[in-house]
C-alpha cells in the first residue's frame, strides 16, 4: 500500500515512514500543507494521513480542496485536538477517519488498512463469508457449517463489522466507534467481554477458532 503522510513533525513523520515500511507499506512524507497538496494531487496513493495543523496550509483545507477536485482517496486526519466538534469538522471537510494524538501506531495502522479496503467496498455484498461462517445482512441470520447461530442485535452488528473487515486488525476503539457509535476511550475492558461472548457463540462446538486476539492491537476475524 502506498501512503502519503503529511506531517510537519520530522521525528513523528520519520517514525511513521519506518513503521509503515516494517509492515510492508510505502510512505511518502510531505512536511507542509502546500507540498502535501501537490503530492496528493499528482501522485497515486491508497491513503492519505494528514496532520491537522500544518505550516503554510492547514490539513483540513488540503483535504477539502482535494475533494473539490474529485480526488476520493481515503484520508485519515491526525490531530492534537480531541474534542467531538473537531472530529465533526474534520469529517465534514472530507476526512474519512479521525485520530487524536497521541495515538498508538497499531491503532493508526489498523485504521489506515481499513480505509484502504473501503475503496474496494464490501458494502454491496449481502452475504459475508469467513471460512464456514456465513452472515446474511438482509435476512439478519448467521450460520456456521450450516448451523444457525442466534445473536443479539448488538452482537450481530459486532460480527458484521468484524466480517466486513475480515483479515484486518480492528482495534477496540474502532469497535466502540463503529458498533456503538461512541468515541470515548472506555476505561475497562468492556469491548473484550463483548468479544469473548461473541467468540463463545460462533466458536463453541467448532474446532477452528476464527476470532483472534492481536496482542497490543485488537482483534482479527480470519480463517487460518
Amino acid at each position: 500500500m502506498k501512503i502519503l503522510v503529511i506531517e510537519d513533525d520530522r521525528e513523528a513523520a520519520g517514525f511513521l515512514k519506518k513503521a509503515f515500511a516494517e509492515v510492508g507499506h510505502t510512505a511518502d512524507i510531505a512536511s507542509d500543507g502546500e507540498v502535501g497538496f501537490a503530492l496528493a494531487d499528482s501522485g497515486s496513493y491508497d491513503v492519505f494521513v494528514v496532520d491537522r495543523m500544518l505550516p503554510r496550509r492547514d490539513g483540513l483545507s488540503v483535504i477539502a480542496e482535494l475533494r473539490a477536485r474529485g480526488n476520493t482517496t481515503p484520508a485519515l486526519i491526525l490531530s492534537a485536538l480531541g474534542e467531538v466538534d473537531d472530529r465533526v469538522t474534520g469529517l465534514r471537510a472530507g476526512g474519512d477517519d479521525y485520530l487524536t494524538k497521541p495515538y498508538a501506531f497499531s491503532e493508526l495502522l489498523a485504521r489506515v488498512e481499513v480505509l484502504k479496503r473501503r475503496s474496494g467496498s464490501k458494502d454491496v455484498e449481502t452475504v459475508y463469508r469467513v471460512g464456514d461462517l456465513e452472515l446474511d445482512r438482509l435476512a439478519h441470520s448467521v450460520r456456521r457449517g450450516g448451523q444457525e447461530i442466534t445473536l443479539q442485535p448488538r452482537e450481530f452488528r459486532l460480527l458484521e463489522y468484524l466480517m466486513r473487515h475480515a483479515g484486518q486488525v480492528v482495534t477496540r476503539t474502532m469497535l466502540l466507534e463503529n458498533v456503538w457509535d461512541y468515541h470515548f476511550d472506555p476505561q475497562t475492558n468492556v469491548i473484550d467481554v463483548h468479544i469473548s461472548r461473541l467468540r463463545g457463540k460462533i466458536e463453541k462446538g467448532f474446532d477452528k477458532p476464527l476470532l483472534h486476539t492481536v496482542r497490543g492491537a485488537g482483534y482479527v476475524l480470519r480463517d487460518e
Binding site: 466538534d85 472506555p186 468492556v190 463483548h194
Partner: protein, 467 residues
C-alpha cells in the same frame, strides 16, 4: 500646543464640547431673533412714515404749501415727533424740526437707502452729537419742486439690538458657569470613581488577584461595571486555580506511573532473559502508556469542560437511549464480575446536551459502580434509572456496594481523589470528576447519596423552563 492636563479627562472634554455647542446654538438663536425683530420694527417704521406722508399729502392738497407747512409745524412740536423737513429744491431747510442732517440725503427720492444721521432743531450744535441719532426717511418732491422729508428716529431698534447683544453675552456667561458646575459635580465624581477602579486594577495587575474593585452600592453604571469586572476576576481566579490544580495533579499523579513505566523499560533493556520476556515487558509498557494517555486526555477534557470554553456541540439527546446503550455496553462486563446490572424505571426524557459526553459520564459511573460492587455482599446489584421529576431529569446509578461515607462524598468528585478504600482498584481516579465536569457543562449537577450501604450517583439535568 500642549493640552492642559485637566483637558485630558473625559468630563472636562465633554463639558467643553457641550459649552461650545450650546454657545453656538445661543448665538444663532439670538441672531435669528434679532434679525426677525429688526425686520418687524423697520416695517412698522415704514408704515408709520407712509401714514404721515399720506396725511401730509392731504394737507398739501387742501391748503397748498402754506397748509402743509402749518401742519408740519404742529406735528413737529409734538413730543417724540417724527422728523419733518420742508426744503427748497437745493435742499435748504425752510421749515421742520431738523436743524441739520447728513449731506446727500436730499439727493435720493423716495426711501433713503440707508439710515442717516441728523441733528434735531434746538439741540446742541456740537457736530459730533449728530452721530447719536440715526433715522430713516422718505423724501418727496412736491409739485412745486419743493422737497418734503418725513422720517423716523431709529433709536428704538438700536436699543433693542443692544439689549439682544447683552442677553447673548449673559447667556454665554451663564452657560460657561453651568458647564463648569457640571464638570465639577458630575465629572469630578465620575473621575474619582474611575480613579479608584484603576487604582484597584493596578493592584490586581501587580499580582494581588484577591483584590476586588470597589462597589459603592449606588447601583449605578459604575457599580455594574465593577460588579462585572469582579465577576470576571472571580472567573479568572477560578480558572487560575483550576490550572494550578491540574499542574499539581499532573505532577503528583502522573509521576508515579511514569516512573513505573521508565523502570519497566529499563528492566526490560537490562534483562538477560529471552525475547519472550522482553516482548512481554514491552507490551506491558505499551499498555501502561496507553493508560497514561487516557489519564492525560481525561485531565485535559475535565479542565476544558470546567473552564466552560469547550466547543462541544449541543443537540437534543434522548437520555433513555443513552441509558439503554450504556447498560447494554456494560451488561456483559457486569455479568462477568458477578454483578447484576439492570434498569429500573426509564422515562423517555430529551435534554439539550452532548451524547458523547453524557455517554462517557454515565459509562464512568456505571464502570465505577460495577468495580466497587463486585465481590461484595450476597447479591451485588447496580441499578440504573431515569426519572423526570419536575423541572429536572434524574439519571441515577445505585449500587449495594460499600458506598462512600457522607463526609468523604464531596471529596470523591475531586480530581484524582481515590478514597483510601479504593487504592487497590485499577483506574485513574478521574471517573467521577469527569462526570461532574460533564454535568457542569450541561448546567446540571452530580449528586452523591445513599444510606444503609451502597451509593447512588445521580446526574441531574435541567429540563424545561422551571429550573
Amino acid at each position: 500646543m500642549a493640552i492642559p492636563a485637566i483637558m485630558k479627562t473625559t468630563a472636562a472634554r465633554l463639558s467643553a464640547l457641550y459649552l461650545l455647542l450650546f454657545a453656538i446654538c445661543a448665538v444663532a438663536l439670538v441672531f435669528y431673533i434679532e434679525a426677525l425683530s429688526m425686520r418687524m420694527l423697520t416695517e412698522q417704521t415704514r408704515e408709520a412714515i407712509n401714514e404721515e406722508v399720506s396725511g401730509l399729502a392731504q394737507a398739501y392738497q387742501r391748503g397748498g404749501l402754506p397748509g402743509l407747512v402749518r401742519v408740519v409745524r404742529i406735528r413737529a412740536r409734538q413730543p417724540g415727533a417724527n422728523l419733518y423737513i420742508v426744503a427748497d429744491p437745493t435742499g435748504r431747510i425752510l421749515s421742520g424740526n431738523v436743524d441739520s442732517l447728513q449731506p446727500g440725503v436730499f439727493d435720493t427720492r423716495g426711501w433713503t437707502e440707508r439710515p442717516f444721521t441728523y441733528r434735531r432743531y434746538g439741540e446742541d450744535s456740537d457736530a459730533e452729537d449728530r452721530s447719536n441719532h440715526t433715522a430713516m426717511a422718505q423724501v418727496i418732491r412736491l409739485p412745486n419742486q419743493m422737497l418734503l422729508l418725513v422720517g423716523r428716529d431709529l433709536g428704538e431698534p438700536e436699543q433693542f439690538r443692544t439689549i439682544m447683544r447683552r442677553t447673548l453675552v449673559a447667556a454665554i456667561g451663564l452657560m460657561g458657569l453651568g458647564a463648569l458646575l457640571i464638570w465639577y459635580f458630575v465629572g469630578r465624581r465620575a473621575l474619582k470613581r474611575i480613579d479608584s477602579v484603576s487604582k484597584a486594577s493596578r493592584q490586581i495587575m501587580g499580582g494581588d488577584l484577591t483584590q476586588r474593585l470597589p462597589v459603592s452600592g449606588a447601583g449605578d453604571e459604575f457599580d455594574r461595571l465593577s460588579e462585572n469586572l469582579n465577576a470576571m476576576l472571580d472567573r479568572i481566579a477560578a480558572l487560575n486555580e483550576g490550572l494550578r490544580q491540574v499542574s499539581d495533579n499532573i505532577a503528583h499523579d502522573l509521576r508515579t506511573p511514569l516512573t513505573r513505566l521508565r523502570n519497566r523499560a529499563e528492566a526490560a533493556l537490562a534483562s538477560a532473559e529471552g525475547t519472550e520476556d522482553r516482548n512481554e515487558a514491552l507490551e506491558r509498557t505499551i499498555a501502561e502508556s496507553d493508560q497514561l494517555i487516557g489519564t492525560f486526555n481525561a485531565i485535559l477534557m475535565i479542565s476544558r469542560l470546567e473552564a466552560g470554553y469547550s466547543t462541544e456541540a449541543v443537540t437534543k439527546i434522548d437520555l433513555s437511549a443513552t441509558v439503554a446503550d450504556v447498560v447494554e455496553l456494560y451488561e456483559p462486563l457486569a455479568e462477568d464480575q458477578g454483578v447484576t446490572l439492570k434498569t429500573e424505571q426509564v422515562d423517555t426524557v430529551e435534554v439539550g446536551g452532548n451524547r458523547e459526553l453524557v455517554g462517557q459520564a454515565l459509562s464512568n459511573i456505571v464502570d465505577n459502580a460495577i468495580k466497587y460492587t463486585a465481590g461484595t455482599g450476597e447479591n451485588p446489584t447496580v441499578m440504573v434509572s431515569l426519572r423526570q421529576e419536575g423541572g429536572a431529569a434524574r439519571l441515577s446509578v445505585s449500587d449495594n456496594g460499600p458506598g462512600i461515607p457522607v463526609e468523604e462524598r464531596e471529596r470523591a468528585t475531586e480530581r484524582f481523589v481515590r478514597l483510601e478504600a479504593s487504592r487497590s482498584q485499577p483506574g485513574s481516579g478521574l471517573g467521577l470528576s469527569l462526570a461532574k465536569a460533564v454535568m457542569s457543562f450541561h448546567s446540571g449537577r452530580l449528586e452523591l447519596s445513599g444510606n444503609d450501604g451502597g451509593l447512588t450517583v445521580a446526574m441531574v439535568f435541567p429540563t424545561g423552563d422551571n429550573v
